[in-house]
Amino acid sequence: MIIKASSLHKRFRDVVAVESLDFEVGRGRCYGLVGPNGAGKTTTMKMIYCIVRPTSGSLEVLGMNVLDNPREIKARLGVVPQENNLDPDLSTCQNLQTYAKYFGIPGPTAAKRCHELLEFMHLTDRANAPVPALSGGMKRRLILARALINDPDLIILDEPTTGLDPQVRHLIWDRLLDLKERGITLLLTTHYMEEAQKLCDEVLIMDEGRAVDSGSPHELIRSHVAPYVLEIRADRALTHDITVRFDYLEHQTSGQNLYFYASASSEFNELIDAYPAMERLLRPASLEDVFLKLTGREIRL
């Protein structure tokens, strides 16, 4: 096992961030942590890369205990943090070389590696650019390149594609799948269920520090929601009207959106015929439906 957490707890003074968490990640897998903001995903990741110490429970990474061997563990990890922490006073290439030094990689090897990684992340023509001159997408790619400088066995990605345009997002997805093919283990958090569904072999849904459920995206969808979803957008009066009339169908309301679930699309026929003019979308169920079902559709206050 690359990661093995059992009854993992983390408390910050009087706030419980992670509670009784158990999960395992095998070699070469892509494992996703999803959950609303404040669910404990980042804290869990920080415990894995040894900058947050577990309060209790055990956490083994690459066969070593995080409390006993942080240096040895970190030597084999690549970390893409949620917040951009590139060195703004150094160039693209210098950022990579500086990190290579922290890993004890000798200069000539670092220079070669830097060249390869910039090519891998499509940043070669930006090698000497100062960091503030890079776009948001380039900075994110550079952080990913930096996480690869030590040829890691496990890469930890905290929201790797948040705020990026679709082109960059697809490039990052392609690169992550490349890395996975090479046998590197990936642990990622994301708020994009499409991303989790596309990349992850297994997903752990967290809420308020606890695991809600886990499994492959496919399994999660199958066990929590019906395979077909009819999304309807309507005003309050119409929403009320529809929900009263079709109460026998499984449904959920979120603001002006109504979601009906069914095991066959034909079950929606009567509803669609009754309101032919309404704005609607019939689609297969996704991980997002599971996520919203398990963690609630309403905004938390």
Partner: protein, 258 residues
């Protein structure tokens, strides 16, 4: 596992190098402004006010005040680097969190920051030493030991700076540190006139601050005057510096690894 200096490995030098690399990239912005204060002091205190003072402790005023100006140049630079500079790296740029995600430990970041602040203090005060040399203020060969004393004084204040930086919630608290400690220390520790001019209570307080010992040692080297009080002064200067550095390293660990 120890979290103090004893747990630190030479990899801390890589973090020091990172700071040096950035400093060299931005040298135009760093070098000359840091010299402005000591140069002003030489002109205002030494040559300006000094022209109204015949002698202080038996030497021309500029020769007396030179040790204070050197010491101030060392500690102010170290203090700025390890307060605003370190705070910026830690909280605004998140540089430290990135570094400790690699095999580098939080304690190593702490020691690297202290050593970097000390380096800046050393560089700044050594430049001032050359200016004093050019002005003909240095007359004794013992002055070659002054940079070592300056490095230690700068380490002392760099470590204090890191302790403050790693324990405050927001940058504004530095105002209290500067107004309540750094500035008074700069003036009451025998920098511009002898500590013996103060009432006894303040004298005791002044001697409790290691900076007074650093200034006295520097002045002794500069004027070739040695007394038996120098040994305890040297022990206090060295001991307090080691203690503060150990505290700074531990404090950085507490701050970064939660």
């Amino acid at each position: 596992m120890s979290k103090g200096i004893l747990s630190v490995t030479p990899v801390f030098l890589k973090v020091w190098q990172r700071n040096a690399r950035v400093f060299i990239t931005l040298w135009k912005f760093n070098f000359l402004p840091a010299l402005a204060e000591p140069v002003l002091f030489i002109f205002v205190m030494g040559l300006g006010i000094g022209s109204y003072i015949n002698e202080m402790e038996g030497v021309p005023y500029l020769e007396f005040v030179a040790a204070g100006i050197l010491g101030s140049a060392a500690i102010m630079q170290a203090t700025f680097e390890c307060t605003y500079g370190s705070f910026f790296r830690m909280r605004i740029q998140n540089t430290f969190e990135g570094i400790i995600s690699t095999p580098v430990s939080a304690g190593e970041v702490g020691l690297a920051e202290v050593m970097w602040g000390a380096t800046r203090g050393l560089v700044n005060s050594t430049l001032v030493l050359f200016i004093l040399l050019a002005l003909g203020v240095l007359e004794h060969w013992q002055a070659v030991f002054i940079p070592a004393v300056m490095f230690l004084a700068a380490t002392n204040f760099a470590a204090l700076g890191i302790i403050v930086t790693t324990n405050i919630a927001q940058m504004e608290y530095f105002h209290f540190y500067f107004a309540g400690f750094v500035l008074p220390a700069q003036f009451i520790c025998g920098t511009f006139f002898p500590v013996s001019r103060f009432p006894e209570a303040i004298q005791i307080f002044a001697w409790a601050l290691p900076f007074t010992s650093f200034i006295d040692i520097t002045r002794s080297l500069m004027l070739d005057r040695f007394s038996s009080s120098l040994l305890p002064e040297a022990l206090w200067a060295l001991g307090s510096t080691l203690l503060l550095t150990e505290m700074a390293v531990r404090s950085m660990h507490r701050r970064l690894v939660t």
